[in-house]
Chain length 226, copies 2
DNA sequence: CCACAGATTTAAGAAAAATTTAAGATTTAC
DNA sequence: GTAAATCTTAAATTTTTCTTAAATCTGTGG
């Protein structure tokens, strides 16, 4: 992991470098913005730690440059101020976190790790938008359903039913509840439309009729997915 | 842990999101109440942080909606005012805590953690949804019965009978009471349907016929579980 | 130890719940 | 405005569960 560190206060920059190297990160350290900007263009950077440099505002500038070049890695700003407004300003130009000086070394490391964790996790998968159950992936955002790497085409209602069940993984849901949540209407008796949809979903998921793997029937109660 | 954040001030919402993500919470963030309300219905939320939005009162409304849908997760309100009356109003509609802006990030996180700790402790797993008796677990929500880590498949009536007995652990229940509670009908004489069900439950629980471990017969009175 | 009331077992038919099917209605997309 | 896709309805079918009733077993008091 390569971390860019920029601070015109030599002591601070050196200290940050020390802590990071201690954790086995590779550090590109600069005391001015000019060289740092070159580095941004030429090296593969995974994260930046920038001083806001109260007077010169170099830190903010560097952050803007990073984002303007479409790099998405995390940027942490260092500042002497403890003003919330400053934080807001920094964050709106694309910084991910803020650390006020003087900082606790452990806090620095914790935030660095946390930011990297988030970054790599986010860059790994479309994470939170996908629910995974046993090889069945439901992507809420893309409104897609993937079974063992093959997309299953579901109609809107089918998708909603499956999603509702998946969100309640393991919990039994009655036809009535399912109907009222998906249709947002009152349920009336002898309405087996939910059942027909369940049937079609099972068909599309290639469920074994006698022993479904995903949508299970709980007699006298409802359905559950697990 | 999924946390819903709603604030029409983008900077504040973004800031809250940042701090929460830093602590590895999953955040659903909205700048308006309309989408947020949809989210409440469709996602599994563990906590909400809402701006009171002094003028529009959207925050209060969202809180009311959450409670009206019987969600019990904690709700924290954000407000610029430091007016005690507002606090009282908020708390009476079901908010759990109050944070005044500008807030200290550490305070925010501390309150979030504290509220979640309280909530999850109260809602703790074996909570009121699982009854345990001697290695026999009855999970009402999942409608499951587990004996020594193996699931036992019970029919609806069997499940209800076992659950009724388990809820009255140690207390003797007559066939008549059992029938009327489970079937919700009047009991008539020479009705041995309850007994047949008891038999099948015992069979499924692998009860020793001569000396049942769970459902015990109290001669001339009824059954009890202990 | 016998009588007998209460409890259990059994199996088969009845009932209830879930599934399947297909046709017609509705919605959506072009 | 039409065709295709999707949804709803209703009836037939299948599956599972429940009830009944008769035969059998068991604990209790005389």
């Amino acid at each position: 992991m390569n971390i860019l560190v920029v601070d015109d206060e030599k002591e601070i920059a050196d200290l940050v470098e020390l802590y990071l190297k201690n954790e086995n990160y590779n550090v590109f350290k600069f005391y001015n913005s000019k060289e740092a900007i070159k580095c941004i263009e030429n090296e593969k950077i995974d994260m930046a730690i920038l001083d806001v440099m109260i007077d010169g505002k170099d830190g903010f500038e560097i952050c803007k440059i990073i984002r303007s070049k479409d790099f998405t890695y995390p940027v942490i700003m260092l500042t002497a101020k403890i003003d919330d407004k400053d934080k807001i300003a920094g964050l709106t130009i694309g910084a991910d976190d803020y650390i006020t000086k003087p900082f606790n070394p452990l806090e620095l490391i914790a935030r660095v790790k946390s930011a990297l964790r988030r970054y790599t996790k986010y860059n790994n998968k479309e994470d939170k938008n996908i629910i995974e159950i046993n090889g069945l992936q439901i992507d809420k955002q893309k409104h897609k359903c993937i079974l063992y790497d093959k997309e299953i085409e579901l109609t809107p209602i089918e998708f909603d039913i499956l999603l509702y069940l998946a969100n309640k993984k393991g919990i039994v849901v009655s036809s009535e509840e399912l109907f009222e949540k998906v249709w947002k209407e009152k349920y009336f008796d002898s309405n087996n439309t939910v059942m027909v949809h369940i049937r079609r979903i099972r068909e599309k998921l290639h469920e074994n009729t006698k022993n479904p793997k995903f949508i299970k029937t709980v007699w006298g109660v409802g359905y559950k997915i697990e």
